[in-house]
Amino acid sequence: MADRLTQLQDALDQATTQFYCAIRYISTRHEPIALGKEPTVKDENVTPDDPATFEIAKAELAKDLIMKSKQIELLICSLPGIGVSEVEQQQKLRSLEKELQEAEAERKQAVEEKEDMVERLDTVIRSIRRV
């Protein structure tokens, strides 16, 4: 999964696409309306949706837009490290580095101790075999 910022950027791009799609849908699928007292003109190339479908689709588009917007807000709120300044981050990094070195040293020592023990066991077993 991409990181939060990329998710946010993608969501923003999707929102833009939705904006476009919504306008496009409305402008291509609406019913022709009479202008003043002139008769309604039908465009041969346009096939409007019937009013009920159109309304439902419109509501759905609006809902999707709101959802996307909410998703963007959620992503913003969950951005990592909100409320942490750069200096704090640097300090944290430094202390972590130290901690890591200590842990690494401890780990090495433990491994050595274990190997030592295993070796002793090995010699003991070998001596038993020979007996």
Binding site: D3, R4, L5, L8, Q9, L12, A15, T16, F19, A22, I23, S27, L65, I66, S69, I72, E73, I76, C77, L79, P80, G81, I82, G83, V84, S85, E86, Q89, Q90, K92, L93, L96, E97, E99, L100, A103, E104, E106, R107, Q109, A110, V111, E113, K114, D116, M117, V118, E119, R120, L121, T123, V124, I125, S127, I128, R130, V131
Partner: protein
Amino acid sequence: MSAEPPGPSSLVSSAFPAPPPFFKHFTPENLSAVKHHKKLGTPTDELPPELQYLIPPPPPENSYRCFGDSWTIPDVLPTLPELGITQLYSDPPTITTATATTATATTTPPPSNTRALSLLRLSKSLLLSYLELISTLSLNPTMSAEKLTDLRTIMINMHHLINEYRPHQARETLILMMEEQVERCRRERDENLKAKEVVKELLGALEGVLGVGLGAGGEERTEDGEGAGERRGVNGEEARERDWEMWRVLEGMR
């Protein structure tokens, strides 16, 4: 770059550009001639033109072009006013054309916090602007250009803010990774210590079974002979019993 030939631009910008025409100048004679000139210390402009191509141009200093984009040295994120975009998220978050103050609000306590807040506000204005665009379109489509630029500005502002946030996230990710590593190190240490304890216990048990002090590994060699000698003295029944017990211990170790 001074050494660039005045060839057609397609040479530079096509996906797989042909080699620059001056590669033909790299003949052994020319190369030795250049070496000769270098020894003499001839300035580059005084060389014959075909030899000038052989001398690499100086590295770019301020900006360079790569994949059709120009890049600055050092690589910095240009501020919005530099790009000719109105910056919407300076300290007053209302939509004002405040181009004077730059993006780096280093004085305010945590920049990431204000950045997230600005993002939130921008996302709200984005939706609102869209709503305005729709109503403008429905009433007077010719007026929509203005709203469209508004939307564009807001979008660019948001993307810019997100990109500004990137280094922050990079550090945050690094912190997380390091924490994980520390955790892993500690776990490994604990597991090793546990394994050590198990082995130690086994050793103790073995020693108990054999009835001999098989203490340190170093003494093992001498004990080997002693143990064998001692064992010969024990009667067969007892030895077999002891062997069985030992094998059981070894079974359990696996």
